[in-house]
């Protein structure tokens, strides 16, 4: 057992409990604390509660959005493990962003489990120790003669009391100064396949997503926005719309025209009859070709230095072999299946919001800013999310509902069409990358230069571009250009495109050096033992050295992201007409202690499907300032029958806990592209893979 001293960061308190029982409040660090370093004191305000009621029910209330990643199951599992609770007595609730200042609530960066791991364990262990003390007090025996197990405290004589019976006494006891955490080898719940707690409701159609909320007196609305980013309304005519049955009102909300109706459908139809004249602004004539040209020009000069080691210029001068390639990634959209939507009820002195959001506090701030209300007059209820993937870290859809409700003085459900969702996203950045590598006479890489040009956000463009390999001289430099296109976090963020670039180019260097791509990487992973182990594990599970049927190629890639390492081996073949078959993808992942292997496997499969869609199909293009794609017919994801066989292997690991929602995404594209090269000799330098790219000429 390890002893954990409860620090200010842990911040466990006995909270008052309406209806009795023991309630502990505590704090779970949010995604921001990963980036922010030290946070202000308010950040430690409680944002999680553990309650043990008199009837023995255990409820855990957390401010973490459930978007399919299974946190509503894995977070309580961690508490229940330390608490020695009966798992069947455990349930979970979503905390609202409420008047009082809560701690951070954002969900992203695969951070929910890894950021909360110690604090959840501490909370469970604290409650367990308090229940033991309560039993010892009641029986008037020594604590050491008492043991907690499966929802009861047992005494050495055989008598026992349930947690429910003990909760009221426990609530009167002081918080222990330090608690012993269980040894990881003694875990009985963590590491088991536990069905997700929210599955039955999702299967029965009872799960409540954003637009499933019903508020008395609510109406429905949809907003016509300028098809060009940043465009403004000049004038509009809603006469025809207002004449339609079901349409209640047409109102301007600064950047768009809202049609308010008695049903979502009537609101959608009303939009078709609107006539709006737009000031399309400065991006009105831009196309993706222009953006590409802008990037292509800018990489001709030296960019802003992002990261470097040694002296790249002289290393290239001395290199025996040099290689250069251009890698291009397009804008891609999130395409959550639940389109953006939000319900808001704005009153003169307060505002209540129901939203499928990854970041309720940002929504709260946005509403407070729009309405001029103090933050504590804005309440955000977080519903289930029909997919997040980073899209719902933004609050634009919350602002929409707040503005419409303010304008009409009624609660309103604002729903985006699928086309709105595709055309007004915060896209993964399009980038243009020049890669140069230099090898010495033994084929060992001595120089690496990655120059990237991309839009708006340095972090999103550059993240994950530093190679994990021990190359003595390297440089990453960047040109960040404003394109007017909104950019955002897309499942696995920077590494999602830079993982493809780094792992493809290292493969090119391996082939140029005439070396086996696995051995080449192994030799260079001297600084990253964990990544190396994961790579080797994937190779072993995929039987890297076993010969393949003729025409089948094998590719490997490994990327560390969000605190986990993931390596993948893909096996593919390409037929005469250039169509690709992915036979299987073998995945090794090291995410530290395994909370719920079932969820991990599902997340890895899901990440692979997500990444394959971007590799094989997805591209947002812009013409005359407008996004050209709209719905599932021209922005497609991989289909049921296109999903390859995925084999998941978890590395037995004593590493710190890592994320799992994102780390399986980055290695997919390079593993498949490297396999394509092995099968055909064709190198993919531009995403997505297009019809014809794989046809031998």
């Amino acid at each position: 057992m390890s002893t954990s001293t409860l620090s200010r960061r842990t911040f466990i308190k006995v909270a008052s409990a309406a209806g009795g029982g023991l309630v502990l409040s505590f704090y779970l660090p949010g995604k921001e604390s990963m980036f922010a370093g030290t946070s202000k004191d308010e950040a430690f305000a409680p944002n999680a509660w553990l309650r043990i009621s008199g009837d023995g029910a255990i409820t855990i209330t957390v401010a973490r959005s459930e978007m399919g990643q299974g946190v509503w199951t894995s977070l309580p599992m961690i508490v229940a493990e330390e608490l020695e609770a009966d798992w069947n007595a455990v349930s979970i609730y979503q905390a609202d962003a409420h008047p009082s200042l809560y701690g951070s609530q954002s969900t992203g960066g695969s951070f929910s489990v890894r950021g909360s791991w110690m604090n959840l364990r501490n909370a469970g262990a604290t409650a367990r120790e308090m229940l033991i003390s309560a039993a010892a007090q009641k029986w008037n025996v020594a604590r050491t003669a008492c043991k907690a197990k499966n929802g009861f405290v047992h005494h050495s004589t055989g008598k026992k009391l349930s947690y429910g019976e003990l909760s009221a006494i426990a609530a009167t006891l002081p918080i222990p100064h330090s608690v012993k955490l269980k040894d990881e080898s003694a875990f009985s719940l963590l590491g088991k396949r536990i069905p997700k707690l929210d599955t039955p409701d999702k299967v029965y159609g009872k799960a409540v997503f954003g637009m499933d909320v019903r508020v008395p007196g609510m109406v429905f609305a949809s907003i016509e926005k300028c098809p060009v980013f940043g465009g403004k309304v000049v004038s509009f005519d809603g006469t025809k719309t207002k004449a339609l049955p079901g349409v209640v009102d047409v109102v301007q909300v600064d950047d768009g025209i809202a049609v308010v109706a008695t049903s979502t459908w009537a609101a959608f139809r009303g939009r078709e009859e609107l006539s709006v004249s737009w000031d399309e602004g400065k991006w009105a004539n831009q196309s993706s070709r222009d953006i590409r040209e802008l990037f292509r020009e800018s990489v001709k000069s030296k960019g802003n230095t992002e990261n470097y080691a040694g002296d790249v210029d002289s290393a290239f001068t001395n290199a025996v072999t040099t290689l250069e390639a251009v890698y291009e990634a397009p804008f891609v959209a999130h395409q959550t299946m639940e389109p953006m939507n939000c319900i808001a009820d704005v009153r003169p002195d307060r505002c209540e919001i129901w939203a499928p959001t990854q970041n309720p506090q940002a929504g709260q701030n946005e509403a407070s800013r729009i309405l001029g209300l103090p933050i504590d007059r804005v309440m955000v209820h977080v519903t289930l999310l029909g997919g997040g993937f980073g899209r719902r870290l933004n609050s634009d859809f919350i602002a929409d509902a707040v503005k419409v409700s303010k304008a009409i003085g009624k609660p309103v459900s604002v729903v985006w069409t699928r086309e709105d969702d595709t055309q007004h996203d915060w896209y993964r950045p399009m980038t243009y990358n020049v890669l140069r590598g230099g090898l010495d006479k033994n084929g060992v890489p001595v120089a690496w230069h990655h120059r990237v040009a991309g839009p708006s956000s340095r972090g999103l463009v550059v993240g994950g571009s530093t190679p994990p390999y021990a190359i003595p001289n390297f440089l990453v430099d960047s040109h960040i250009k404003d394109t007017g296109v909104p950019i955002g976090a897309w499942r696995s963020v920077g590494p999602s495109q830079n993982g493809w670039i780094v792992e493809s180019f290292i493969d090119e260097l391996a082939h140029t050096a005439g070396k086996d791509p696995l051995e080449f990487r192994r030799g260079l992973l001297t600084k990253s033992p964990r990544l190396k182990r994961t790579l080797e594990f994937a190779a072993e599970k995929a039987e890297w050295n076993k010969s393949l049927p003729k025409g089948v190629g094998r590719g490997i890639a490994c990327v560390e992201s969000f605190g986990s390492t993931c390596a993948q081996v893909a096996e593919v073949s390409v037929d005469r007409d250039g169509s690709l078959t992915i036979h299987r993808i073998v995945v090794a992942v090291d995410c530290g202690p395994v909370v719920n292997p079932d969820t991990i496997e599902a997340q890895i499969e899901g990440g692979i499907a997500f990444a394959l869609s971007a590799l094989l199909k997805d591209e947002i293009t812009i013409e005359k300032g407008r996004v050209q794609q709209g719905s599932y017919d021209d922005y497609r994801m991989i289909r049921f029958d296109e999903m390859p066989k995925v084999e998941v292997h978890l590395v037995q690991s004593s590493e710190p806990i890592g994320g799992i929602g994102e780390p399986s995404v980055p290695p997919v594209a390079p593993a498949v592209c490297n396999a394509i090269f092995a099968a055909t000799g064709i190198r993919i330098w531009r995403l997505p893979i297009r019809q014809g790219d794989l046809k031998k000429t």
Binding site: Y204, M337, G387, R418, Y632
Partner: protein, 160 residues
């Protein structure tokens, strides 16, 4: 506006609606039955799938008046029978991730199994290919359909 009589999950419901309003919105916004989901509104994704006389129909492109006189089954109807082998299989395989596409996937699978109680892999591919899931739950959907197909042919039956 028209007065329509709809038979939903074995119950007769009268609604005053524009007869062209898609069944999806009658269910969701008029009747408050939100288990059936909106995702594209153009018949492209299957999130809104219901059964009409036992066959899969995309309710976002099915006018309410067209559904009059037909037996409409929604996910809520299927879920009235918790012993339904398809739902049990879906829970046993812990299929959903975000869950948003799942009612549509389940209704699509129910229609398949009603037509073809023992589908081969290729039949499952054909039936499910036009129902995308952004979370990538495909492998588990396949397992759940197979598990259900071994349990007997009663999957399309809602509570009546």
């Amino acid at each position: 506006m028209a007065s329509l009589k709809l038979s939903i999950n074995g119950k007769s419901r009268s609604v005053e609606v524009n007869p062209e309003m898609p069944l999806l919105w009658v269910l969701r916004d008029v009747l408050g039955m939100t288990g059936t989901k909106f995702s594209c509104g153009r018949g492209l994704c299957g999130s809104c799938t219901v059964l009409l006389d036992g066959e899969a129909a995309r309710s976002c492109v099915t006018a309410a008046e067209y559904a009059e006189g037909k037996k409409i089954t929604t996910i809520e109807g299927l879920a009235e029978n918790k012993k339904n082998p398809l739902l049990k299989a879906w829970i046993a395989e812990d299929v959903p991730q975000c869950g948003y596409c799942q009612p549509g996937q389940i209704m699509t699978a129910a229609a398949l199994l009603q037509l073809n109680p023992r589908p081969a892999d290729a039949d499952i591919d054909a039936a499910m290919a036009m129902s995308p899931c952004r979370c990538g739950t495909y492998p588990r959907i396949r397992k759940a359909i197979k598990r259900a197909s071994q349990a007997g042919p009663t999957v399309g039956q809602g509570g009546e």
